[in-house]
Amino acid sequence: MFESFLGGIHPKDGKELAKDKPIEDMPVPQELVVPMGQHIGAPCTPTVKAGDEVKRGQLIGTSSAFMHADIHAPVSGKVVKIEPRPHSGMGSCMAVVIQNDGKDEWADGLPLTRNWQVMENEEILAAIQSAGIVGMGGATFPAHIKLKPSKPVDILILNGAECEPYLTADYRLMLEYGAKIITGTQILQKLLGVKRTVIGIEDNKPEAIKAMEQAANGTNIEVAALKTKYPQGAEKMLIKVISGREVPMGGLPMDVGAVVQNVGTVAAIADAVEHGLPLTERITTVTGDAIKEPKNLRIRIGTPYQAAIDYCGGFVEQPKKLIAGGPMMGMAQATAEVPVMKGSSGILALTAEKVDHGPEMNCIRCGKCVKACPMGLVPSMLSILSERQAYEACRDEYGLMNCVECGCCTFVCPAKRNIVQYIKNAKGFIRAEQMKAKAAAEAKKKAQEATEAKKEAEK
């Protein structure tokens, strides 16, 4: 039916832990920590100060930079501190700490009721922008920027693949809030004027496929059952499988006329446009073999991981790793103090049994990574060259910068080599070199201008 992408892997999905747990509202904890960097782009600057009273949905952080998404108070209460706090992506980040007053009052005028069908596209886009919506699958790209592509697009793809093992947040959302997803999708159809709209779901979630087919009944939205294979939900793979188009190297989806949004993002867009609600909560899966009662929670942004874990009965066993996101691309956390953010699709606690593996050995050139790589790279060579600090060779001869860090190569490696780590090292080096070169070029230009100005003056 749909052609597949090359490579990919079939890890044990671990979704049985939480897939049958209906979405539960988690009570708002006493203290919420809202980081100012929750999106790709410039971090926000707080617009409140310690001691201020805030209401839910009130703007608390913004930025003058183009690439950013506004941040809103997730609960009513008092700002007690503004200070750097542990952050699941950056290590540490400035955060607004809000003491919950227990009233949970919305800011003035919220929620409102609007009919999106009579709204202008500019109004819709403004509503999405002022709600601070970002890509909620984990990439956290500001939605209002992605939804104003600079090139014509004709296909909208909804990402319901949820190919990361263990995570079930999108699955539950599709089962329970199909209508909301469809509303959000129709808003995007109007906004983008696309010819075709497809929701892609892996075929290991037949109930979700059924639920979305029912919800989409009577609309022109297609539901596509995709082969279960990681990383089916990676943007480029999804576009390739659904439309047959291949995003060019270094390019963006809009280069092939496509826009991809996660189903969670679309549901948040429906709330923002219809009810004016900023993004202050999301669905997050708290799961893993170390969690007593895995759950799918509707959780406020800023909830510390520890509070969510406690709500799920705590640990049955001390986990070895606490992961923000899924096990393939999520980031391991040192502490459970980090808060839930807009891109937090899961909180995963895994015991040593799940994450331990043998020591790293030499590459034996078995070629499993080459077969597994969906991007057509040679991960084994990248890892060996990076290990030898031949970073330029990684970039020039082995397409380093095309790596999407999906982790397939490292998953299949029988030598247990940390290939993604080697690749990240090499990328980091190349980026640092680029920055250095850019800075040097600018300095040279300035110096030249200065000498010329001097010469001018001397004349």
Partner: protein, 339 residues
Amino acid sequence: MSEEAVKQETASSLFTVSVSPHIRDDETISHIMWQVNAALLPAALFAIWWFGIPAFINMLVGVVFAVLGEYLWQKGMHQPITAFDGSACITGLLLAMSMSPLLPPYMVAVGSLLAIIVAKQSMGGLGFNIFNPAHIGRAALMVSWPVAMTTWTKMADVSGGVDAMTSATPLNILKMQGYDALIATFGSQSDLYWNLFIGTRNGSLGETSTLLLLLGGLYLIWKGYVSWQVPVTMIATVALLTWIFGPAGLFTGDPVFHVMAGGLMLGAFFMATDMVTIPMTIKGQLIFAVGAGALTVLIRLVGGYPEGVCYSLLLMNAVTPLIDRFCKPRIFGAGGAKS
């Protein structure tokens, strides 16, 4: 709480941090290597039945010296010990299986040590060896003790009417006396084929039974350790070329004989598929297999040796890095937007 206690509590509540992915497949190098050993077992057991105790002793000596050599080297060089991961065992076993059962065991021991120390460990150990260690061991013995290496056992008289009192391998007979003499030795063409298929013929210790090598090879393909394209392409190349360049002019050859004779089955399924020394992409592997097959035929039909599998594979090992360089997969999105 004292400061020390607070520090301790914080430390114990910290989780391990490392780069993703956090879960791994269960497959290990050691598991792959032991699976390959297991796939060689039927042919090895057959060799003991067919050639007797000397075959058993040679294989035992090959394995013991390979593993021991690797262990002592790693111990002496203060490296992590990986001597028991099964790869040294394969080297020793393959080496013994690719030589005459009459070879004195001390020569097998020397070959095993050369294979492990020179061809494998001095290159940096498993993964960094350019050449298949077993083949280096065999080639070294070939130039050191050429007579011993080409003295073959007398064929036992198990198939009834066969006049088996010759001490040459089928490929030897072909080279020295011609095709008709070969048929005469076995009685008829169908007898020749049958003996080659079952393995009741003269030859290197583990190379004789086409049937059992095929069985082991199919197991590896089924388990996914070997891409079927490699052995199939190498064997097909040999069949095609030996058929075309027959003894009585073009298209008069006997491909069935050439495919089952000598070490082709052992080489195609167990040596041309040695992941360390062959290209990593399918495209590269196909080039490797065609090259190995063509060189084998060249040596068999034109060269001085009756058999060419060992040298052809060594030659192709040498160009493997070059093949890898030119046979990279196509990067997703290369060549601009595609729709």
